[in-house]
């Protein structure tokens, strides 16, 4: 088909139809807009600006819920009639599908008010026949205007399309909407860019890493207190866990006494959040749980979820009380202060080791440890060992992630991806085990008689049986995928990144074959 591709233009000062027609006056075509009423709209995004960072804007106006991808396309669905915060709350539609894919767990919040004009302009020939359409969105805030145009070429009218594109191209002045409209788009990320230098002392590197993660922790506090979505607590906890891990994993960098005190501090801070996170995970998977058990167990499951919700509300009360307490603020600030200046952090024997060599050595040692443990696992291995493997693998991942800025980013990402499959199974295996334990606790904590107690017990029984079955399946998958850890490719990747001595001796290994032979020793399960 002889159809050119649609073109996109961004204009800094709105669409001046008269000016465009002046340029087109000798071409036998004119551009015609419609008299579109401006309407008020709200830019929506979530805490990590998932929509904006994907190159798009989400705008809610009376006429529709609109997603403009400035290098891609325009997606519109009818404006939801009721209040919504999560993509899942929206009525079925193409924007809902996109948002679910992008950010299923985070709440969408206002990021700015705009005036919006939506129009479809037509390029007409001298017979008033439409030869091309131009979809447009014009957003304005005060005197700031940002227009987005996308041509819709029509079959058989390539010439007219080329003409209008030529004009628009000359008028274009690309600028991203947040800059042009001065929108307040959140700059939060759970994975901050950390700049480390290879030869800096390990203590300096550790401080930089810890400071970055603690900033993530602190930024999640307001949203967690306001209970905006479950990700605030999750990322608050993950960042603290990363801090705790990196402190422990960077063995010998911090003085033992300081380390022990910090570990105790983190335990105290996080203790109250365990119950809340556990119940959040349950409540988020509500639909999945209902799908797991037969319909006759649903009334009992309703009861169970009411109880879990009560637990969650109670736990949330405790967590907010803790986070808003003077004690917490004082404690977390003093921890932050401890890492502000590396010189002030009481040092251990390895504090001055050059960072890259130090980190590489740690990763290799831990990798060997993981391989050794993985090598002992068979069909008959008790569940405890599988849990141990999960913990070791997680430590290995945290270590690699923390030290990532010191190594080749692409190679590290690819290595982490290789390990992801097995780690996902290990994670699910653990989740199902934790969930079964929670169910058992529920049964113990809510004793009673009568029809409700019976229904509850039945649903817990049905759910436990299903979870156990799923856990067995995960266990099988873990054993099946164990080789991902120690196969020659993974070993080769670890060596290529972290075996610095060997890299220095042989910077450009000619073939992978040679590489494989050299790392064969890792294949020996008796490592």
């Amino acid at each position: 088909m002889n159809l050119p591709s649609p073109q996109i233009f961004m204009l800094p000062a709105g669409i001046n139809v008269k000016k465009i027609n002046d340029i087109l006056k000798d071409e036998n075509i004119t551009l015609a807009g419609n008299t579109c009423e401006p309407e008020e709209g709200t830019i929506l995004d979530n805490f990590d600006a998932a929509v904006y960072n994907s190159g798009a804007l989400l705008i809610q106006a009376e006429s529709g819920l609109i997603r403009v991808c400035w290098s891609g396309d325009l997606t519109v669905q009818a404006a939801p009639e009721s209040e919504w915060r999560f993509a899942r709350d929206l009525p079925q539609g193409p924007v809902r599908d996109l948002l679910l894919n992008l950010s299923a767990l985070r709440a969408f919040m206002p990021a700015g008010q705009v005036t919006i004009i939506r129009d479809t302009l037509s390029v007409l020939d001298d017979e008033q026949k439409t030869c091309c359409r131009v979809e447009s969105i014009t957003l304005s805030r005060g005197k700031k205007v940002w227009s987005w145009l996308m041509t819709r070429p029509m079959r058989g009218y390539s010439d007219s399309h080329a003409l209008i594109c030529g004009v628009l191209e000359k008028m274009e002045k690309a600028g991203l909407p947040a800059d042009v409209l001065k929108l307040r788009i959140s700059d939060y990320t759970s994975k901050p860019d950390i700049h480390l230098s290879e030869n800096a002392p390990a203590r300096t590197t550790l401080c930089t890493i810890v400071q970055s993660f603690l900033q993530v922790t602190r930024r999640n506090e307001p949203g967690l207190i306001d209970d905006i979505d479950t990700e605030f607590l999750h990322q608050w906890r993950v960042s603290l866990r990363k801090v705790r891990s990196v402190l422990t994993l960077f063995k010998g960098v911090v003085a033992t006494e300081t380390l022990d005190q910090l570990k105790q501090d983190f335990r105290d801070i996080m203790q109250d959040t365990n119950m809340m996170r556990d119940r959040d995970v349950y409540l988020l998977s509500r639909d999945d749980y209902f799908a797991l058990v037969p319909p006759h167990a649903h009334p009992g499951l309703e009861l169970l979820f009411e109880l879990l919700q009560q637990d969650r509300d109670e736990a949330f009360g405790k967590v907010t009380a803790m986070l808003t307490s003077k004690a917490y603020k004082k404690q977390i600030k003093s921890i932050q202060k401890l890492f502000e200046n590396p010189q002030d952090l009481p040092k251990g024997p390895k504090a001055d080791a050059p960072s890259k060599v130090f980190a590489a050595d740690l990763v290799l040692k831990r990798y060997k440890k993981v391989c050794k443990l993985a090598g002992t696992i068979t069909e008959k291995t008790p569940d405890e060992t599988i849990h141990e493997l999960r913990i070791q693998c997680k430590k290995l991942r945290y270590l690699i992630e923390s030290a990532q800025p010191l190594f080749d980013d692409k190679q590290v990402k690819s290595l982490l991806k290789t390990l992801k499959g097995l780690q996902d199974h290990l994670g699910s295996f653990n989740d199902q085990s934790v969930q079964q334990a929670t169910l058992a606790q529920c049964l113990d904590r809510y004793p009673g008689t009568g029809p409700n107690a019976k229904a509850l017990a039945e649903s817990i029984g049905a759910l436990t049986a299903m979870l156990y079955r799923k856990q067995l399946e995960e266990r099988r998958m873990i054993i099946e995928n164990l080789s991902q850890l120690y196969n020659p490719e993974t070993q080769g990747a670890f060596k290529a990144l972290f075996d610095l001595k060997r890299i220095a001796a042989n910077p450009n290994p000619e073939t992978g074959e040679q590489d494989k032979n050299q790392v064969d020793s890792y294949g020996d399960k008796n490592l």
Partner: protein, 244 residues
């Protein structure tokens, strides 16, 4: 891809109005539709404001199938494209007569757009020529507008006779009454007579209407600006009946 021809061997019977509105109704009901303006007078294109293609003034038009696909123009209406009339169609009959096995030419020409369209509607020239015969052969249905007058009745019988003589399938012929004036008793009598003689006459008929006549002023299918008028809505109903 279904090929529906709008054909009459008599001019001025509302053939182009029917082609244009049936194509519009087809597109509106979700079919990707191509309307081919094979009538050298080019009225279908006029109603859609599409100019005859400058590029295609060549006798080798149907030979060059790529050119055929390139000549297609998108109309202002969703799902509806148009192959505008080309002045060389006038010479098309002569061109076809020179060619051997010419009867398969039209089919060949339509090959490159097969798959792009669900429905192709052919607005045919009002004569019996080699092009028309080509159409009789390849079309899935031939919709024949008939004004209920004695002269039109005679022309319809001639068409049936021609089909019989040439061995074409007369089961493809679906006459429908056009420009009907219910106030004229002769119209009603002839409609009854034709229905009695032929099984495949469509139930829906198109009344005479100024709204349809005004298509030349609006330069758009009557269904797009006067779809609620009874006479105009009859086209949509006719399309529903064709689809069954």
């Amino acid at each position: 891809m279904k090929l529906i021809a709008c054909y009459s061997n008599k001019g001025g019977v509302g053939k182009t109005a029917a082609s244009v509105n049936l194509a519009y109704a087809s597109a509106l009901s979700g079919n990707r539709t191509l309307l081919c303006d094979l009538d050298p007078q080019g009225a279908s294109g006029f109603y859609f404001r599409v100019k005859p293609s400058e590029k295609l003034k060549s006798n080798t038009f149907f030979e060059d199938t790529k050119k055929f696909a390139e000549a297609i123009r998108e109309s202002d209406f969703h799902n509806l494209d148009l192959l505008p009339a080309n002045m060389s169609f006038r010479d098309f009959d002569i061109f076809l007569s020179r060619m051997k096995k010419s009867r398969s030419r039209l089919n060949k020409a339509l090959k490159p757009v097969d798959g792009e369209y669900d429905i192709v509607i052919l607005d045919c020239p009002p004569n019996i020529s080699l092009l028309s015969e080509n159409i009789f052969k390849v079309a899935d249905r031939i919709m024949v507008p008939v004004i209920p007058t004695t002269l039109s009745q005679r022309t319809l019988e001639q068409l049936y006779a021609f089909f019989k003589k040439q061995g074409y399938k007369s089961s493809k012929i679906f006459p429908f009454f056009s420009m009907v004036q219910q106030s004229k008793s002769l119209h009603l009598e002839i409609m009854a007579e034709i229905r009695a003689g032929h099984e495949q006459v469509m139930n829906t008929w198109i009344p005479f209407s100024t709204h349809i006549e005004r298509m030349g002023v609006h330069r758009a299918p009557a269904l797009s600006y006067a779809g609620k008028e009874e006479a105009v809505a009859a086209y949509a109903q006719l399309w529903q009946e064709i689809q069954v």
